[in-house]
Structure formats: C-alpha cells, structure tokens
C-alpha cells in the first residue's frame, strides 16, 4: 500500500508521535479514553486538564490546531442530541436564559459532550499520525485475531475501489439523465446497490484465486515485525498515566 492508500485523515509527518510504534499508540489512546470515561462528570477542571494533555500531544505531533479542530466536526450530529438532553431529562429544574432546563439534563449533556469530544479528539490524533498499514500491524501486534485483521486490511484496500465503482455508477446514471428525487427512484438505486454487491463479491473471488495462485494457505506472511522498546512504551504511555493521575485527583477532590 503506497501513498495512494493513505486515508483522508492521515497527515504525513516525521514527529516523535508519528515515529512511535502503532501498537503503543493504540494502547495509549484506548487507555486514555477509558480513563476519561471513568472520570466523574462533576470534576470539570479534570476535563480541561485532559484537553490540555491532548493539545500538548497535538503540538508534539505538529498537527496544526485548525486541521485538528476541523476534524472534530464529525461529532456535530450527536452534539445536537446532547443539546436536546436538558429539555427532556427530568429532576429539579433551573432557569437558564428564561428557559426551564433540567439540572440532571444539563449535567448529562455536559458529560456526553465533554467525554465524547475528548474521545473523538484522541481518535482523530491517532488517525492523523498513523498510517493505515501501521494501524493494521498494530492491531495484529495487539493480538487481534489474524483473520479479523486480514478482513480489515481487505476492506481498507478495496474500500476505495468499491467506492470508486459506486461513483462511476452514479456518473453513469446521471449521464443518462437520471436524478434520484424521491422514494419512487429507490428501485434504480437499489439495483445499483445489488450490482455493486455482485461486483464486490466477484472481485473477492478473483482476489482469492489470485492469492491462491501465489501460494496463499490461510495466513498472510508477516514481513515487518513491529517492535517497541521500553523507552517508546514509556513515551506513549505518558499520556494515559498522566490522565490517570488527573482522574484519581478528580475522584478524591469531588
């Protein structure tokens, strides 16, 4: 997988964060998110501390703040949902700007917003500093079943191909004057989806035959073993360990 397969969220760079072995990064991000989720929501300052931690990681990874913030827009749909919570939750009410809002609902909305945003931010940083292939190697290194990793790698390798095929079908439809405007046109779109399935499945069969003819016997050869030194592990785990300290402080103070 060359440069053509870099995903849209990846940002090429040579920072210390880019250079870390992928499985250490995956572990760090996962532990960090677990710590964030188990922090009490009343410890507002703790979330500020987490945000600062992530910002320092982004600085170390030389990910420009604007790039990073733009990627956070993915969580907009559930922000809208969170904003709805104060209106529907029950419990004691409070007056904010002339609206009667539930106190529980406000806390709930804050909880979802803060933890969700931090989680998305951490994932975006991971995706921005880790190449696809590295990510798969890292998952394999973390003892994910090899078959699952293979499926994921095939999905990623051929995801663009299948999506392109769909785009070509759309262009073909549009060049024949078709425009889907409502429920009446679902039949045409569904036929496209069916054709897409057949093409994907047949491509899978061809890929399998090609692999068999090159000696595939159920497992992929591991060519480059990723290994992490103790220093790299320490460097990667600084983030979740600091977060854990903040979390424990939050539990004791609140």
């Amino acid at each position: 997988m060359g440069a053509g397969h870099a995903h849209r969220l990846y940002r090429h760079g040579h920072s210390p964060v880019h250079a870390l072995p992928p499985h250490t990064k995956l572990t760090a991000v996962f532990c960090f998110v677990v710590v964030v989720v188990s922090t009490p929501r009343e410890a507002v300052w703790a979330f500020a501390a987490y945000a600062l931690l992530l910002a320092s990681v982004a600085y170390a990874a030389r990910v420009p703040p604007l790039f990073w913030l733009k990627r956070l827009l993915i969580e907009v749909p559930f922000v809208a949902f969170a904003l709805l919570l104060p209106f529907v939750a029950e419990g004691e009410r409070t007056e904010v700007l002339g609206m009667s809002l539930s106190v529980h609902g406000l806390w709930g909305a804050w909880n979802v917003l803060a933890k969700g945003t931090l989680g998305v931010a951490a994932s975006v940083l991971l995706a921005a500093t880790t190449e696809l292939r590295e990510l798969l190697l890292g998952l394999q290194r973390l003892k994910l079943p090899p078959l699952l990793v293979q499926i994921a790698s095939f999905m990623i390798r051929y995801g663009d191909v299948v999506a392109d095929e769909m785009r070509r079908m759309r262009i073909a439809r549009e060049s024949r004057g078709f425009e889907a405007r409502g429920v009446r046109h679902w039949g045409v779109l569904a036929k496209s989806a069916g054709a897409l399935f057949i093409r994907s499945y047949e491509r899978g069969e061809r890929v399998h035959l090609a692999m068999v003819s090159r000696g595939y016997a159920g497992s992929m050869p591991v060519i480059d073993e990723v290994a992490a030194t103790r220093a790299q592990w320490t460097y990667a785990l600084t983030l979740p360990l600091t977060a854990l300290a903040v979390c424990l402080l939050g539990w004791t103070l609140s």
Binding site: V37, V88, G119, A180, V183, H185, W186, L189, S192, A217
Partner: protein, 383 residues
Amino acid sequence: MHVPDGFINAPVSVAAGAVAVGAVAVSLRGARRELDERTAPLAGLVAAFIFAVQMLNFPVAAGTSGHLLGGALAAILVGPYTAVLCVSVVLLMQGLLFADGGLTALGVNITVMACVTTVVAYAIFRGLAKVLPRGRRSVTAAAFTAALVSVPAAAAAFTLLYAVGGTTDVPLGKVATAMIGVHVLIGIGEAAITALTVGAVIAVRPDLVHGARGLTAPLKLRVGGELVDAPATPAPAPAPAAAGSHRKLWAAGLVTSLILAGFVSFYASTNPDGLEKVAHDKGFDKGEKEHDAADSPLADYGVKDISNTRLSGGLAGVIGVGVTVVAGSAVFWAVRRRRDGDGTESGPASTATDDVTAATATSATSTTSATSATSVTKPAENA
C-alpha cells in the same frame, strides 16, 4: 446511530465489549464454515461493499435523505456469521479511522449494530422463508420483514443497555419511545431498500444470495418444444471420503499388492527393466558399480538362502510390499498429524486440488451450456 464515548457508563461498556468479543469469536468460526479459506478476501470485500453502500444516499422527500445500515442486507446476502464479522470490521475501522463512534463504546456499537441487527434479521428471514412458499417473491418479502424488524430491535437493544448503564437519567419511557419510534421509520426505509437490493441480486446471481440457496430450479432441456428434466449433471467434485472408506481403500490396496507381489511377480519378465536390458545388450553396464545394498538379504528381488526361485521371488515381494506399506503409512500419518496440529489452516496442496476440481467443474458446466445454449432454457424461479 454510532454511540459516542461517555454515553454508556464504564461497567456496562465493558460487559458489552465482552459480549462483542464473544460474538466475533463465534462468528470467526462460523464464517470459516460459510466461506472456508476464502473468508479473508470475500469478507473483506463484503465489508468494503457495506462501507460503500452506507454512503449511497436514498432521497426521501424535500431534501432529506437516508442511507442503508446494511446489517440485515449483509445477513441475507452472505450469511449471519460473515455479516457479523463484516459489520464489526466496518464499525472498528469507522471508530479508529473516522472517529465515528467512541472507542470505549465499540463494544456497545458492535453488540447493537452488528450482533442484534444481523441475528434478529437472519432469524426472522429464515423463519419466514420456511413458512412462505418457495420463490423469489417470498425471499424478497422475507427480506423486507427481516430488515423492517431488525432496525427497531437494535434500537430496543440500545434502550436496554441505556436502561442499565445510561449516564443521563432521561426517563426510560421517553428514550424508548423516541428511539424505537424514530427507528421504526428508519426501518421502513431500510426494509424497502434491502428488499429491492436483494431482489436485484437474486434476479442476476441467485447463487450468491446466501438466504436463497436451494431456490434455483433444476435445469430443463427443451426437446421438441417440450420441457424435460436435464440428465443428471456429472457428479460434482466427490465429497471428501470418510475415514471408513479410507480404511477400506487401504485394505484393498494392501491385499492387491500382496497378491501381485507374492504370486503374479513370478510370471513377470526376467528382464523387467527396459533400461537394464538395453544396458546389458549394449554392454555399457560394465562400469556400473554394484549397489551398496547388493548383499542385503533382499538383494535382486530374492530372499537369500532360499533356493527355490519362485518362492524366493514371491517372499521378497511380500516383504517389500509390507515394508513399503508400513513406511508409507507412517509418513502419511505423520504428515496428517502435523497438518492437524497446524489448526484450521488447510494445506496448500488440498487448496490447490479443490480449486482445480472447482475449475474443472465450472468449465464442464460452461461447455455444456455453450454447446446446448440454444436448447437449454433455465426456467425462472417458480414465482
């Protein structure tokens, strides 16, 4: 519909994660049964298809549009186990690459969207397919109902998780009403698209639809304007022989070789090897070194110290066959034990043979269909 971080509390997330891990482990085994060693590329491509088809927008009205969730569609098209795997992989990649759905909520997402959706959809689909008359329309109808129920079922499962481990105390009734209400609407769209898509695939490649196996009608020939059943196709690749037949084959082979070696060998030519004869005639075996084993008890196909040539030759043959059989069996047994020790991986040799037989079978059918293209009609599924 992806659940973000912090929506479900930590203990319930961990429990859902355990459920998800169990479900994926079961599916990994099941998918091997559905797809054998083609699992990785085929499931990968199907996952890519689901990923792509989720980007296909279906306009509803007035500028709003929805998209397919794909759980029910995958279950019907490729079978429940592969479907769980594909949707799980899609969710995993969405969580890692696109930050869509929280990492700690991955267990919740997989449990709700991969497991509940596909299992409910497939159970309903199978049940309906059993009840309804066989035919294309029944499959489409079953697909519609399966997808229709699967989406609210997933919403109900989510509500259940929320009731146990929700972080906000929104009254449960409201959550349930909102979630299930909205998802009934989504389910109708999903059902329509799923049924249409399944129908489109069945129309072209019914053999690819896992849920429609056994639907293909037997091949008919038109002979003199009349439809008659095509003669039975040459038996497809023979089923792997059972252990019992192996033993039978082994015993028969052993007896035959013993007979041949012990009794028939006597009648064999005294110049059995053409090269030996030619060499002797031309005299170029003068420089030939005597074999190292020349003074072994069985040298030159006779047993030492037995003067009767008939008896000697026959006995040597029997002993030779015995030793060969024992050695061969030992090698075979060792190889098989090693291969079994490798676990589920099938050896390259067996794969290759399978493919060759499959290829021959395909080419055979294609030739028959080509030669009799004018006279063979494949009646449409009894709709």
